[in-house]
């Protein structure tokens, strides 16, 4: 293969009907991650319904998110919408003394009527200081796609981080706690014990940034967050994303090099987990090897995952579609992805489905709205959303990650055998 991989592959840019979530969906995992935060969407009944539908069965008595639903009176005059918002926030915070960070989340309706949530956040921050910090960001569908909600949220937090000139590592991206602990363990074994993580679990957990901060990203969709950190003086450690044995090792090695940790130390620390990851992946790869895969755009995880599936599981990528491709963040993964597949950005869902039907891939990675219809057409699918809601990063999850893709194929094989009897 060429050393360039897909770096020079021209990107097919499509502009048509998109079948993707909006950024509000990120709240579903962000509110679990930040344990003293409340996410208040300022939006419509649609926004509330989306959150509820995306959250699925996870109905808690009073979750740490909600929607301030705009009604006609709010649309009539804007001054009153700010007052109304103050009322809702005051009620909420008086009932929930556990809340230390409040995120005002903009939606399409709030943005179209130009409801100034930044102003509201400033005012409410002053009013509720020091107990509660109020931050605003946009999760709207006219500005953000799915995981870009997390990007907007973290980017909005960056200006509030205290300044520090200490030489330090900052890891950006929300990871499930168990995975984050594994990562911190590996870094500590390499001698990097003092690692800050954005987002932190609690408002009081100290995360700082400054000119001697080096940032490693664990999620590929954090372009705005990286830009905000860079503006604060931080430098980016470019690396493939830590999916699979290869990605995890490359990521750790890049971080190690940035801090002068020798390759020998990295090898020693990662030897055992690498072997475990390879063994675990090999089992799933038996099913995946030689099979073709087609990614519809969803979370921006598509390119790193295609790299994992093609290089570690022996799959062939037909098309790798992403809602948006951040060339800087994606460069290391694109370079590793062997040239061949169509790389597409954006979507025209009907045209893209025509391509899926023509190619008849062995596995199609797509959103929940498309999975059953494609299955009914005889195609095997993997719901993309599971890749975001499941622990999939780093060594100990590499086998699970491969398993997410092999299970639908195994299942289809089992059911066919039964049907043939």
């Amino acid at each position: 293969m060429s050393a360039q991989g897909c770096t020079a592959t021209p990107v097919l840019r499509e502009r048509g009907q998109r079948e993707v979530f909006c950024g509000l969906t990120s709240i579903v995992w962000l509110h679990r991650k930040m344990q003293d935060a409340f996410f208040l969407v300022v939006g419509s009944r649609t926004c509330a319904h989306l959150l509820q539908s995306a959250a699925g069965v996870m109905i808690f008595a009073e979750p740490r998110f909600g929607t301030a639903i705009l009604d006609e009176t709010d649309l009539a005059g804007l001054a009153c919408a700010q007052d109304e918002l103050d009322n809702v926030v005051t009620q909420l915070l008086s009932r929930r003394s556990d809340i230390r960070q409040l995120f005002l989340v903009g939606s399409c309706p709030s943005e179209v009527i130009k409801l100034d949530l930044e102003k509201a956040a400033e005012r409410l921050s002053q009013q509720f200081a020091p107990r509660v910090r109020v931050i605003n960001f946009s999760g709207s569908g006219i500005e953000t796609t799915f995981t870009e909600g997390e990007d907007a949220c973290l980017a909005a937090m960056v200006p509030t981080l205290p300044q520090s000139d200490a030489a330090q590592l900052l890891v950006a991206g929300a990871l499930p706690d168990v995975v984050q602990d594994q990562m911190l363990g590996l870094l500590a074994d390499m001698g990097l014990a003092d690692v800050a993580v954005l987002p932190a679990a609690r408002a009081d957990d100290r995360v700082t940034v400054g000119p001697n901060t080096k940032v490693a990203m664990v999620q590929p969709f954090l372009g705005e967050t990286l830009a905000a950190l860079t503006r604060r003086g931080a430098t980016h450690i470019a690396a493939p994303f830590p999916f699979g044995e290869e990605g995890s090792t490359a990521w750790l090695r890049a971080v190690a090099r940035a801090f002068g940790v020798s390759d020998a130390v990295v090898d020693r620390v990662t030897e055992a987990p690498r072997a475990r990851a390879r063994r675990a992946v090999a089992q799933a790869a038996e099913v995946l090897s030689g099979k073709s895969v087609f990614f519809l755009p969803d979370s921006q995880l598509e390119i790193p995952l295609a790299r994992f599936l093609t290089r570690e599981c022996g799959m062939q990528a037909i098309e790798v579609g992403a809602p948006f491709i951040h060339s800087g963040l994606m460069a290391p993964d694109l370079a590793l992805l062997e040239a061949g597949p169509v790389i597409s950005e954006g979507q025209d869902v009907d045209l893209q489905l025509d391509r899926v039907r023509a190619a008849r891939p062995d596995l199609t990675v797509c959103g929940l709205g498309l999975a059953n219809p494609l299955e009914a057409e005889g195609l095997t699918t993997k719901w993309a959303i599971e890749l975001v809601f499941t622990p999939v990063h780093f060594y100990e999850q590499a086998g699970d990650l491969a398993g997410l893709f092999s299970r639908p194929l195994r299942r289809r094989a089992i059911l066919q055998r039964e049907a043939a009897e």
């Binding site: 009907q17 079948e19 649609t46 989306l50 006219i142 709205g369």
Partner: protein, 514 residues
């Protein structure tokens, strides 16, 4: 502006999608941002539909605002026609598009598409999903239905079933059979399974069966007025209602009332001795107005329960439900605030909740048995087996469904007799339910004061449970403990007693003995 945590209904355009997705040969062009496409998954995942909803979204973005959102809409409209070749198109705006005022209806009309284009005005900031479905279906009927000759044989339309409806699929089968027994044909079922050309011949029917007033009432009213097709008022859920329905249809069509009840089991099951334990069970009902009203009648008259509270989330049915509640001597709760419903349930401490998926979660948290009787729906509400709510089989299904969460007949007594038995403690639950029985905790944790008194649960009365009484209360089986606590507190309040002792507990028990 109102804070919503969980909602019973989606926005009105989701109601329009329920109509469009139920129909064939119809396409919906929806001016909406990309995130609104989440609604597709309701149909493909919850209802397991094997095709995409027939909806084209314009998915405009911020950069399109003020420049060419209107063109985006026109392109989407033309592409949808070219690709799907529908018999008719409905067009409308979601909440965001409503604000940018592109007027999809007006634009679509000027495009000269060779099929009927039906504009929808669904005020997203005032109304909700059921309204959206009702209004959409009404507009479709108004645009397409024409006066046509009546069928020779007596016939009926089944009106109201939609995609994502609570058991609509099976209710259609049941009601069709019910009518068939009386020699009545089904002319058209709509929106479920109907094409625009089917809508055109709605007027051929002699009567409309209004299955679900939530989604079909406006269309039925219009057809009564404009096409002279009368509609039924009785929703045939439950034995009594099914018999009334048969009588109503017979009267409207001048045919003999006939009902084959050879497979009807609810009345005998309910009368059989094993069901004695159902007597006076305190139930709380919540859901859409229609299903709650039907369930209330079944609960009282056919199951022998005591209805201690009822309510609905759709304001459109508030008046009907309030009248019904007066009949039952309770106060109706009309609210779409999940937390308010939860508070009401906590206050009433029922022994069984008949509600929606939302109440199922409340019930789980409060440890109260629960069965689902109404939308909003969950993937579990689309069972593979035939399980209607309407007609004879519907009544049988309802009996089974409502009884299932309860502890059964003799088992209830065994639990009472042997409540000190290590396998028969509270957490063990009913033997026919899955899940491993948790062993009885070895040490009884001291009752946390925060949990004990009524003040902790928001009550206004200042009554304290003495530790001994609290301990005695723990010996009451869990499925009646809520009632015991409540009765005792009510009794204490009535007697002006501030502290509940073991004696108070037993005096209350004697007082309420029936």
């Amino acid at each position: 502006m109102k804070l919503a945590v969980w909602t019973y209904e989606g926005p009105p355009h989701v109601g329009a999608m329920r109509v469009a997705t139920a129909m064939k040969g119809l396409h919906y062009v929806l001016h909406a941002p990309q995130g609104d496409t989440y609604a597709d998954l309701l149909f493909t995942m919850i209802e397991r539909r094997n095709h995409r909803p027939p909806v084209s979204y314009t998915t405009f973005q911020a950069r399109d605002l003020g420049s060419d959102t209107a063109n985006l809409f026109k392109t989407a409209c033309r592409d949808a026609y070219d690709r799907f070749r529908p018999e008719a198109i409905i067009v409308g705006a979601s909440c965001t598009a409503e604000l940018i005022q592109d007027d999809p209806g007006g634009m679509a009309e000027t495009m000269g598409l060779p099929v009927p284009v039906i504009p929808l005005e669904l005020p997203s900031y005032q109304r909700k999903e059921n309204f959206g479905a009702d209004e959409t279906f009404f507009q479709i009927v108004r645009s397409l239905a024409r006066p046509v000759p009546r069928t020779e044989r007596p016939s009926a339309n089944l009106i109201g079933p939609t995609a994502l409806g609570f058991r609509h699929r099976d209710d259609i089968t049941e009601v069709t059979a019910l009518l068939h027994e009386m020699g009545i044909d089904v002319n058209v079922t709509a929106p479920y399974g109907a094409t625009p050309s089917d809508i055109a011949r709605l007027g051929a029917a002699h009567v409309n069966v209004l299955m679900y007033p939530e989604t079909g009432e406006s269309a039925c009213r219009w057809m009564a007025r404009e096409l002279d097709v009368p509609h039924t008022r009785t929703v045939p859920i439950g034995v009594g209602a099914t018999r009334d329905f048969v009588a109503e249809i017979a009267g409207l069509l001048d045919v003999a009332p006939r009902l084959d009840d050879s497979r009807l089991r609810l009345p005998w099951y309910s009368a059989s001795v094993d069901s004695t334990y159902l007597t006076g069970k305190r139930v709380f009902l919540f859901g859409d107005g229609t299903h709650v009203a039907a369930a209330a009648r079944i609960a009282r008259d056919e199951m022998g329960f005591e209805v201690v509270g009822l309510g609905c989330y759709n304001r459109e049915q508030a008046r009907m439900l309030r009248a019904l509640a007066r009949d039952f001597g309770v106060e109706a709760l009309i609210s779409d605030d999940y937390l308010e419903v939860e508070r009401r349930i906590e206050d009433l401490a029922p022994e069984l909740i008949l509600g929606t998926q939302m109440e199922r979660h409340i019930a789980k948290r409060l440890g109260i048995p629960c069965a689902v009787i109404s939308a909003p729906v969950h993937v579990q509400d689309f069972p593979a087996r035939y399980s209607p709510q309407m007609g004879i089989e519907g009544a049988n299904v309802i009996f089974d469904t409502w009884v299932h969460p309860l502890v059964m007949g003799l088992e209830e007594h065994l639990l009472t007799m042997f409540r000190e038995d290590f396998e028969f403690h509270d957490a063990a639950g009913a033997s026919h339910h899955g899940g491993k029985a948790a062993p009885r905790p070895q040490v009884d944790p001291a009752p946390a004061p925060a949990e004990s008194g009524p003040e902790a649960r928001g009550g206004a009365v200042d009554i304290v449970w003495l530790p001994a009484a609290e301990k005695e209360l723990k010996k009451v089986p869990f499925f009646v403990r809520g009632k015991a606590r409540r009765n005792t507190e009510a009794f204490a309040a009535q007697q002006g007693v501030a502290e509940i002792s073991v004696d108070t507990l037993y005096e209350a028990k004697a007082h309420y003995a029936r």
